[in-house]
């Protein structure tokens, strides 16, 4: 008895699948890369060794006050490293999955982090997408061994990308983390209103670090990062402190040919009821 043929799974919608087929690709299966990590952070490990940027914010009350009214921001490279390592493992496993299917790439790759399983310090990183392969034709020359590309772009976006002479290389992740112990003003103490530099500085710091890691990924792959999505998170630490975390994901693309001339888009007024 012959084993029934396995139908390839796909997360592509009809329109996305049609766009992929227009480019000579077909879906060959779903890929999933997962990694559960024990993440490390100075916020949860107490006042452990930290490095990187640090700044103090004095108490704003006229008579000064006990040390508890002071605040400080300390960069958390441990957590940044954990986030980058978790996403990196998930992406590599998704790529290995695609390679095992004989795929040329993965489209519509979605990255998620689940922070609920195993408490606040065990994070589940996942990369889920659809593997695609070039449909072989009789006269095709053999292709060199390859590493499948990874793209967070959907099928239609991939089509536009290729028509513009750009090829996706990999998915880049950026992260930055900072531990914030709020000063009296940052806590929202109504007796000392004014500009809250501590909050602004924390956001600027994590944004800068996330941008740097995206740039490093782009440089390593020799391209630029497009379609970046961004999220800012505030995770509880000890007492009133919190962790300001920035996560960014984009697709590294590289030029391979001159863009094909495209017709100027037509402006339309939709007459939808």
């Amino acid at each position: 008895m012959t084993e029934p043929r396995r139908a390839p799974g796909s997360r592509l919608s009809v329109a996305e699948a049609a766009a992929v087929r227009r480019m000579g690709l077909r879906p060959v299966g779903l890929v999933l890369g997962t990694a559960v990590l024990q993440v490390v952070s100075s916020a949860w490990a107490g006042a452990g060794p930290v490095s990187g940027s640090a700044r103090r914010y004095p108490c704003q009350h006229f008579l000064g006050g006990p040390a508890e009214h002071w605040g400080w921001n300390v960069e958390d490279p441990g957590l940044t490293g954990s986030v980058l390592a978790g996403f990196g493992l998930a992406l590599e496993r998704a790529r290995a999955d695609a390679l095992g299917m004989g795929a040329d790439g993965v489209v519509g790759l979605e990255l998620t982090v689940d922070r609920r399983v195993g408490g606040s310090t065990a994070w589940t990183f996942q990369a889920l997408g659809t593997a695609v392969a070039l449909v072989p034709e009789g006269g095709d020359p053999p292709r060199p061994s390859r590493t499948p590309f990874l793209a967070a772009f959907s099928g239609r976006q991939l089509e536009r990308l290729l028509l513009q002479g750009l090829v996706p290389v990999t998915v880049a992740v950026g992260a930055g983390a900072c531990l914030v112990q709020p000063s009296c003003r940052t806590r929202g103490d109504p007796t000392v209103p004014g500009r809250v530099d501590q909050r602004r500085d924390a956001l600027t710091l994590v944004r800068d670090r996330a941008r740097r890691s995206l740039e490093a990924a782009a440089e390593e792959a020799g391209g630029q990062v497009l379609g970046i999505t961004w999220q800012d998170l505030r995770l509880p630490g000890w007492g009133e402190s919190w962790l300001q975390l920035a996560e960014a994901v984009g697709t590294v693309v590289r030029p391979f040919a001159a863009p094909l001339p495209a017709a100027s888009p037509t402006a339309t007024v939709a007459l939808r009821p």
């Binding site: 449909v135 630029q224 939808r272």
Partner: protein, 280 residues
């Protein structure tokens, strides 16, 4: 299957198998997708990098309702202004002419603290560098418009001049005790509250208009209102933020704009149930 598309993919995959060509200079980071890149290119714009700005301010709740809301309005404008200034400054340092797709994120904390962040993609005007267009570079503009809207704006003969903001706080006067606890037997307009909202909206819009005028703009488009009621033991107020893109007249770019009416055939399926009741 399209043979042209297949050949293009084959060419792309062959290029991917080649060693990393390396890169000279700083890599470009952008929130834009491939289609948006094409829209920008057609009107002579290109992305330069990801830029952001943030601001945060707090205010005292004491005195709100008796003319004390000025500190509150100041804090709202200061937080927004600081985020915008940092965004434009980062774009300027990259040598950009503007920031597209500026996304405003507001985080409101214990009643009297606002933190805002603006994130966007710095863009360069490639036509400005050509001979005949050389002139002193003005400060980069910022807009909430994405490449699609920016493309249409430039094709229609307008350009963004600045991201403009306005803010005001409407302090709502106290009601009679019966009205406050819902035991009032007669309905009627709370004229004081209506008037306070009108007055606050006018103040916020006046602030927005003043910023647009300072930018030498013809008008403000894409205006977005953010309202938040704040009710506590000490305060009964509505906070208003207004944000929009000030525009100026420029020479048209790209193909002339002649919108065509179309009937799309991809209507979403009708919602059969809404709020637990069947819709008629």
């Amino acid at each position: 299957m399209s043979g042209g598309g297949r050949n293009r993919t084959q060419e792309a995959l062959a290029a991917l198998a080649q060693p990393n060509p390396g890169r000279v200079g700083r890599p470009v980071l952008a929130t834009l997708g491939p289609g948006e890149l094409a829209l920008l290119a057609e009107v002579g714009l290109e992305p330069l990098g990801l830029v952001g700005g943030s601001g945060s301010a707090s205010w005292s709740l004491a005195g709100v309702g008796s003319g004390g809301e000025d500190g509150w309005t100041w804090a709202l404008l200061d937080a927004l202004g600081a985020a915008r200034a940092e965004l434009v400054d980062e774009a300027s340092r990259l040598g950009a002419d503007g920031v597209a797709s500026a996304e405003l994120r507001l985080e409101r904390e214990p009643g009297n603290l606002l933190t805002c962040q603006l994130l966007g993609t710095a863009i360069r005007d490639t036509q400005r560098r050509q001979p005949g267009h050389a002139r002193r570079r003005p400060a980069p503009f910022a807009t909430t418009f994405g490449p699609g809207e920016l493309h249409l704006l430039l094709r229609a003969g307008y350009a963004p001049a600045a991201l403009v903001v306005g803010a005001a706080v409407a302090a709502l006067p106290a009601r009679a005790a019966g009205q406050a606890i819902g035991w009032s037997r007669s309905d009627g307009e709370l004229a004081g509250w209506t008037a306070a909202l009108y007055e606050a909206r006018e103040r916020a819009m006046a602030g927005l208009g003043a910023e647009a005028a300072a930018a030498g703009a013809l008008g403000v488009v894409g205006v977005r209102f953010e309202e938040r009621p704040v009710v506590s033991v000490m305060v009964r107020a509505v906070e208003l933020l207004v944000l929009g893109t000030a525009v100026v007249r420029v020479e048209r770019r790209g193909a002339p704009l002649r919108p065509e009416p179309r009937v799309p055939l991809d209507d979403p399926p009708p919602e059969v149930f809404q709020g637990g009741r069947r819709r008629r």
